[in-house]
Subunit: 341 residues, 2 copies
Amino acid sequence: MRIIIDAMGGDKAPEAPLLGAAEAIKEYGVEITAVGNEAAIAAVMQKNNIPAGTFAIVHAPDVIDMEEDATDILRKKPDSSLAVAMRLLAEGAGDALVSAGNTGALLVGATMIVKRIKGIKRAAIGMLLPGRPTPWLLIDCGANVECRPEQLVQFGAMGSAYMQKVQGIASPRVGLVNNGTEESKGTALQQAAYPLLQQSGLDFIGNLEARHAPEGVADVIVTDGFTGNAMLKMLEGAARLFTGMLKEMFYSSTKTKLAALLSKGALDDFRKQLDYTEYGGAPLLGVQKPVIKAHGSSNGNAVKNAIRQATLCVENDLPGTIAAWLKQYKAAQTETDGDDE
Amino acid sequence: MRIIIDAMGGDKAPEAPLLGAAEAIKEYGVEITAVGNEAAIAAVMQKNNIPAGTFAIVHAPDVIDMEEDATDILRKKPDSSLAVAMRLLAEGAGDALVSAGNTGALLVGATMIVKRIKGIKRAAIGMLLPGRPTPWLLIDCGANVECRPEQLVQFGAMGSAYMQKVQGIASPRVGLVNNGTEESKGTALQQAAYPLLQQSGLDFIGNLEARHAPEGVADVIVTDGFTGNAMLKMLEGAARLFTGMLKEMFYSSTKTKLAALLSKGALDDFRKQLDYTEYGGAPLLGVQKPVIKAHGSSNGNAVKNAIRQATLCVENDLPGTIAAWLKQYKAAQTETDGDDE
């Protein structure tokens, strides 16, 4: 198996992607193609004593910045590491792609160059988020701010395929984010998506309120990209607020300072559990080959975890699983209403 | 000043509303009219040694359950404590209303019986939420799942009036929830609302992502009721997740158990800061008289706090402030585009 790495993507590039890649080769026995500025890659390899020949290197002179507007970035920067990496993936020079770079550009590149699975309306971003007792996949986290009901069903199916194939959950439960549990709740979007999800063949458990999302009530939590982005960012803001408040609490007296010392290791674990970058990268779902978006601030370890995710997607044929569901769904629809799209 | 209390609303009714009311009379010198089942009220007063004559009592034989569908509940239950209280408020038998009951019924009642301020398209629910360094008002928290751009501007104005008159912030900063800060971000709703907010005369700081909401970047954070509800519920879910994880962390070893003991008081403060019921009730904004929705689980102290909020709304003429803004806004619009609605 060969994973393509965008060596220039992310706040800590090219060091973090290359260190992560070198570790992944050792741990998982994968082959890696690193795409980026050759000189920069060579410098990192030398500095970190990574032997020549550890990865295949494909030179790409240009870099897409984290904040650049993605719309036509691939046309403007065809020689960027991201664009070159995407073309390599599309051409079959690798089985999956990992990048910690610009999310928008990654999404546009995946859609325009690697292409969507036939029948999938829009690619979507999933994120595995912390919950008790189990993590949950939020989809869509912001790729599609305006959605049609049919797309939400596809998000549910893509999320289910991911949780099944990568997280090993036999029959993932799918919930729809709404402002109450009754079937009639929500905007026109949720009202129309509800019966479609019921008839989708997925294990649809109905509507759920965001407050129950971290309580293990569903494995896949479906929403439009605008709401999903707001939920994801609210969770992130809440985590920062709480850790800030907790720190302040521990600094408030001599007694609490002692308490902080006594609970240091456990507190670090607590912070880690809050940090969703620990849960690996975000899969871009619905494209023909696995693409994993590692967090922009990823260190080598986070990139290594994202590579592991990518290998699981390849090994378990995630795109094929999604395509197979879609075929079955279309067939069932045709049977039901005679409407062969 | 006379505050009308729905004595039967909330999980701990009628005890909590009446205890809160009795405390509020002592602390703030307000007059209270308690609406509800006379016998039940008398029993609570006797049990808690509340002297006869402490409040005016208006009998209402019926109760609206917390989970009942609100749409036509007031027509079906015209003798419920909530419907009777609303009519008393509309007729001028009191200056403001506090209820810990069914939010939907409260909203329908306020809109149908007390009526909206002239020119206000929809009433909205604001919630003061925890932030560092300052709390923030999220509006709308779920009253209007589908919104038009003009409504978001009105939410901004109503939220500003509240933060100014009740929280004492001279010039509240208003931010629009979006999936990025650029003006072009969001769905058609946010894209259309952005220029309207810019021209609104409010202190509009632009778009913000939900992750920054708790960081004191804006005093009033505006969004449609669907997204607002998802954010509010996500924050609530996150708080539960974090306190659960923290508890587990403290139980993990003898050292951490000792740490928990050492930080007990500070931990309680931490939990309190997370608990938004501590921030008082949620104002229903846009109706002709102040209506405060106390949390369903309110105890006496929370009801007392909600009564204090109601008195501040009355003292500082919150509805009049909103009406005055609207008049000025309409006049400015007429000047600009000659379109006198």
